[in-house]
């Protein structure tokens, strides 16, 4: 479904990604691991179109992905960014409704599973997004991405700042989304146990490069130690 082929990415003169490749398939979770500052977020930005790749190419459903972020969203890529990026002055309800943009008029509803997953959102529909606690915002960000009915869901550290019980819920939600809905999911994680539990494929990054790819089972201690410890 998504194929990242050997992309580079620069911030001005600084190169953040070097010949990075990645694959994500429907019904699978592809997990990207790596220490701080190795380029995980940069890779996600390249996928959703928020920062242009300076080399290589990205294919989505077999076609090259080149358009604007909004075109990519409309093509079926949902994004939960690191740092939440809630619209601070919109209410929770309005935040969710921004996800209607890619939908035809009759499909413009908030899917029920959003509130099942995150009941707190239901009780805070009228509150402004910016006033929510950090964890609440994270839940809203995931909910908002689901409103767009994506085919590919890109999650950048979705468990950051979330209470343990909800992390479990998110885990369950991811399983539900890949198995029942058949989404392709790209998940950036630092929380290894969580990643191990969910991942079908794993990519570890270091210094802007992918240094390991394989299945969750392949993720042996050696690889972890080499690339994930300090």
């Amino acid at each position: 479904m998504l194929t990242v082929e050997s992309i580079d990415l620069h911030y001005g003169a600084a190169q953040a990604l070097r010949r990075v490749s990645l694959v994500a398939e429907p019904g699978e979770v592809t997990c990207v691991l790596g220490r701080n500052g190795v380029g995980k977020t940069s890779l996600m930005r390249a996928i959703v179109g928020q920062h242009p790749a300076s080399g290589g190419r990205i294919l989505f459903e077999g076609r090259p992905l080149t358009g604007s972020p909004s075109a990519r969203a409309r093509a079926g890529i949902g994004y939960v960014p690191q740092g939440r990026e809630i619209f601070p002055l919109l209410t929770v309800k309005e935040n969710l409704e921004t996800g209607y943009a890619p939908l035809p008029r009759k499909e413009r509803t908030v899917p029920g599973e959003v509130f099942e997953l995150f009941p707190v959102l239901q009780s805070m529909l009228g509150r402004r997004g910016g006033d929510l606690s950090g964890g609440q915002q994270q839940q809203l960000a995931i909910g908002r991405a689901l409103v767009t009915r994506p085919k590919l869901l890109v999650l950048d550290e979705p468990t950051e700042g979330i209470q343990p019980s909800i992390i479990k819920d998110i885990g369950r939600a991811i399983v539900y989304l890949k198995e029942k809905v058949g989404l392709a999911i790209v998940l950036v994680e630092q929380y290894l146990d969580f990643a191990r539990e969910l991942a079908d494929r794993v990519a570890i990054m270091d210094r802007g490069e992918v240094v390991f790819t394989g299945t969750a089972a392949d993720l042996d201690d050696d690889a972890v130690r080499r690339h994930l410890t300090v």
Binding site: Y11, G12, A13, A14, Q15, Q50, H51, P52, S68, P69, S70, A71, R207
Partner: protein, 390 residues
Amino acid sequence: MARFLLGALDRRATPIALVLLVVAVLVPVAHLGLPASHPLHVPTYIVALVGKYLCYALLAVALNLVWGYCGILSLGHGAFFALGGYAMGMYLMRQIGSRGVYGNPTLPDFMVFLNWKSLPWYWHGFDQFWFAALMVLLVPGLLAFVFGWFAFRSRVTGVYLSIITQALTYALLLAFFRNDMGFGGNNGLTDFKDMLGFNIQSSTTRSALFAASAIALALGVLITSAIVRSKFGKVLIAVRDAESRTRFLGYRVEHVKLFAFVVSACMAGVAGALYVPQVGIINPSEFAPANSIEVVIWTAVGGRATLAGPIVGALLVNGMKTWFTGALPEAWLFVLGGLFVAVTLFLPRGIVGTLAHGWNALAERRRAAAAEGGRDPEPKPSDLEPAPAE
């Protein structure tokens, strides 16, 4: 103080200060010392014109201190300039003495024909140069202090602050327009005769004023540079970029801003005081909000938060205004308006900012090339600019 200023002499401030000092010497020499026929003679026209520009440049430097480095977008800096100007104007008026048209030894002409019987209290003391000079600093400084004290303590920021500075200068504009205020109403203060005993129109006085303006500007640059280079300068920038975070580090943000604001207002006052004897009139239109906005424009065109930017901007914009109001009297607004649009689009950091950035980027690339594939190249703020969304 001297040590503080000497500390400011770095790679950037020194050449600017030197150039200004050289100008302060050479222009008067070429004006006074060379005969009018000499090819290098600088005519009065140029001395008067550039002298005026230098005052504008000092005003822009003052604004840059608060706007460029501290993020306080003052849309009322013209008020401090004008107050400094009025203080000087009052001195010059008092110097006229009984040479006014009505021959009244104390009352300025406009008071005579509007039936003022005696000099209002706030005009006393202005017959003394030292007093006027003190007021040039004190009046704008005090206004900035009182205004800033309340505004910064109440945490008025951003556009709210900008708009109340605009309201301030607008209110002063209206107040000074009123003839009842005793500042000559719309006609302002004019008809100056001499200053410190020298005829204000003589070439020597002009040259001296010119040199004083250039030196004041150099001092303004040095003060700015000294402030910016010090740790206080880092605090200023911190306040600009994340005011609330600075508070949590224990800095009294309101004091920091107040200090910068008052220093800047005093600089603006000096600029105004040097400006008035050179143009020969001070009138309430100097308080017009549009004038203050223009100062912002000069600074932005030259490049804010750079030392030379405000000077370059003020000289360039005013130079173009002079040139085109004569050469293209019916189309110069197209040219100037076009310049502003072009600068924003093509020189996003202003002229000096963009040049400096280009230079740094070049140096960077060379260094990176020399270091050969270093893994941690250092991005500059430019790289932080979010890419256009689509």
